[in-house]
Amino acid sequence: MSFPLLTATVLAPAIGAVATAVVPSARRTLAKWVALAASVVTAVLAALVLIRFEPGGDRYQLTESHAWIPDFGVSYELGVDGIGVALVALTAVLVPFLIGAGWNDADPKEDETPAGRRWRPTQGFFALILMVEAMVVMSFVATDIFLFYIFFEAMLIPMYFLIGGFGDRAGENSESQQAKQRSYAAVKFLLYNLAGGLIMLAAIIGLYVATSDLPGGGTFSLQAITEARASGELTFAQNTERLLFLGFFIAFAIKAPLWPLHTWLPNAMGESTAPVAVLITAVVDKVGTFAMLRFCLGLFPEASAWATPVVIALALVSIVYGALLAIGQRDMKRLIAYASISHFGFIVLGIFAMTSQGQSGATLYMVNHGIATAALMLVAGFLISRRGSRLIADYGGVQKTAPILAGTFLIGGLATLSLPGTGPFISEFLVLVGTFTRYPVAGIIACAGIVLAALYVLILYQRTMTGPVRPELSRMPDLRPRELAVVAPLIALLIFLGVFPKPLTDIVEPSVQHTLSDVGESDPEPELEARR
């Protein structure tokens, strides 16, 4: 058999995490370099995956399959379709930048007590990031539902430590105060997602029972189940299917997050450091939307169709609600968080529009939103690290003292409001078109998001960057080379994806067609053809 590329892509960061963790506490810088190296290796492997993947080939490629826990009907099955490839690439590309951006975020404070001699925050920070990367990649490439679930759940733990353990340097309010808020955010994150995960566990067990009359007993193999369903060999009772769908969907809707299950996100993103915040919204949350696309639609087509109206309504609420709340925020990280909620609304909308434009758009949206938010959030992080405050009101006139920072911030913002020429525009437009062709009203309502996005981004930019320079900012340094090196490539990527997205769409679109055929939907005919 061929070289297990996917396994390697998962193992690289995992091994890197261990290696980073064991670096002695004094050799902090070494740990950082080890982590960076590991993430770069991962990126290279991901690039190989991207190359080896043939668009329009088999649905799942680079597959691997080994028995794991036959007793549970669980096997170690990996494979990627176009959607998976795109997201693996996104993850692998982002993480090195996150590590670069967080280079000094986890250095122990000067007043670190000798009691914490064995306490090695730096090593821990980077090890945890790599651990999360490994688990996320695994959940993107797992084609066994149980395997997916395990990592879907397990990734909460390192995330939890990242959120709770590392925050911004003390700002306006005291260290202990911040620590309290942090651990509140972390606990909220963990319990919220754990609850969702446990609901999904019930559904998974239910799925096992439902499939247990297949030849060879219950199974969790995605392909096996979809094939069995296609061949009519396996049929779910209507209620069973709907309940199972709900069990899965709620878990994913929490992760995504979809209104009204979103309230953990602003806390989590607000309290954690910028790179971690990006990790949450740009990488981890994508697992939720990805899973909706792959599992909810793939396993429960009828139920998906049944739930579509409600889901679309929720998505619309998320879009508008998130945007409005973003406008109302005083804390720039929370603002970005609510903006993300709005964007996840678009993604879910695109997925459940059940058109090739909508779903391709949603997939592109996941990628683009990841990069755009990363750019915006990381620059915001650099800004915060200079002033030690997340409050928008504490800034003003930055563009005078730090033009490059302001410029990159603006570009990130413009990408976030999906300006043509940047990647997000294409994905957002595709989602909207795809939605409109099937649900015109929904499409039009979603357009409100376009204007609101302009509002929250530009308000943020105006309040922080323009106007007279605030005295306390008068000596603020501009972007340092490291920081620029982190942001510039992201911006370049954004523009490239905006100008020439074809490679991506070519990879994604066939897989979307597969998904659509699972659901048994096809794009609505143009009015004129329909009339002919």
Binding site: D71, R120, A154, L201, S212
Partner: protein, 541 residues
Amino acid sequence: MNSWTHAQGVLETPQFEWVALSPTLIVVGAAVLGVLIEAFAPRRYRYGSQVVLAVLALAVAFAAVVGLAANGHAGAEAQIAGMGALAVDGPTLFLQGVLLLIGFVSVFLFAERRLEPAEHGRAVDSFAAQAAATPGGTAEKLAVRSGYTTTEIFPLMLFALGGMLLFPAANDLLILFIALEVLSLPLYLLCALARRRRLLSQEAAVKYFLLGAFASAFLLFGIALLYGYAGTLSYAGIADVISGAPSSQVDPGLAATMGNDAYLLIGGALVIMGLLFKVGAVPFHMWTPDVYQGAPTPVTGFMAAATKVAAFGALLRLLYVTLPGMRWDWEPVLWGVAIASMLAGAVIAITQTDVKRLLAYSSIAHAGFILAGVVAVSPEGVSSVLFYLAAYSFVTLGAFAVITLVRDGDGEATHLSKWAGLGRRSPLLAGVFALFLLAFAGIPLTSGFAGKFAVFRAAADSGAMPLVIVGVIASAIAAFFYVRVIVLMFFSEPQPGGPSVVVPSLMTTSMLGVSVVATVVLGVAPQYFLDLAGQAGVFVR
């Protein structure tokens, strides 16, 4: 008159399967030897010899179990031994194996002498110098100065273990009762032997003893009623009567009461209740927190792990061999108990402030989870419960072992507030404890998850989906307080006067290592052990 004539018949000498019963015999034998050592060996040799004896005995016994299993006693060769009194089959051997392992590592906990600060230059363990001496009295000081140590703990523990080994093997009500007492009485004593906080320890002992005796009285009365119903004490016999085919040797003429369902139902209920008490299920759980808190931590660990295993073994056999005929009568009850245990355990634990009490409530919740597997009357149910017990017991032992290491001025610092910032002081230990907590919470890639999944799946398979739902909710609630402890350890600033972590001897370290390995292996690659439990899933009749 007739019955007397029966008695006049020649009593044929009982034939006895020494090999099949060797594990129990070895352990009990070793216990007796231990008593002799206590009686005759000079004080300074006792500790060493007791430890060696116990370790050897357990090792040999475990080897015996393995041998028996290898000879197919777990499957095809399964047999009823001791004139129908004992069953040597899959579940028995599996649980005996688990119990012996638990005992094996517990010995290390018991024998640990590095934790307590040395008294008068002598290293001491965490047990009272002289149980009889009043706390703080002159006698105690004297005992301490002259370096007495209660080495009786080893024989006591072996006796208890002997009873536990019998418990799941018990194939008639008499043995069930005997085994119950044999395992309980030494535990009562062990609970009273703490070196620090002796008042609490003694109080724990009293409560445990009184309630335990109370429970066993119920059990006994239940036994009486069942006997009254079936006219026999053997499981198989009772099962026959229930299924309407009474074994021949009862004279129908006199069997006026035979088959009177009231006896059966009440008796069955009482016996089940007696076992649920040992398991620590709601509403028979109230002794657990107090006893867990008061008893010396090594004993708590041993008790929490082993008692549950043994008691569930006995419960399984009783329900699967004796009462399957009346499944429809006891299933609803157990449903209720399971649900109540899961929810009550999880909810009450939220507001606990003492680590040991916290674990006590978590153990109650887990009893509920396991019961969910018990009510799934199917081989999967059995094997899932067996697997869960194996997984759970090691996590429990590990957790309590960690607790023994976190100490301050007056012994173990079990109050949660003192654990704040432990992760900063000694990340490794805190990490290990966090791992155990996550396993309790049933996070994937830990043994806890595999067990929970197995149990819930079995339950769902037998149509108990509601139980699974409740279980899931309970797990969510439970996660809340496990996470709380982790937050405390890692995310809150260390207190100035906080506890310190003592570096234990190789014994505790290795036993911690074993627990960690077990937790991870059973979580990541459970297949082999699932197979074991799967093969062991069938009861002999």
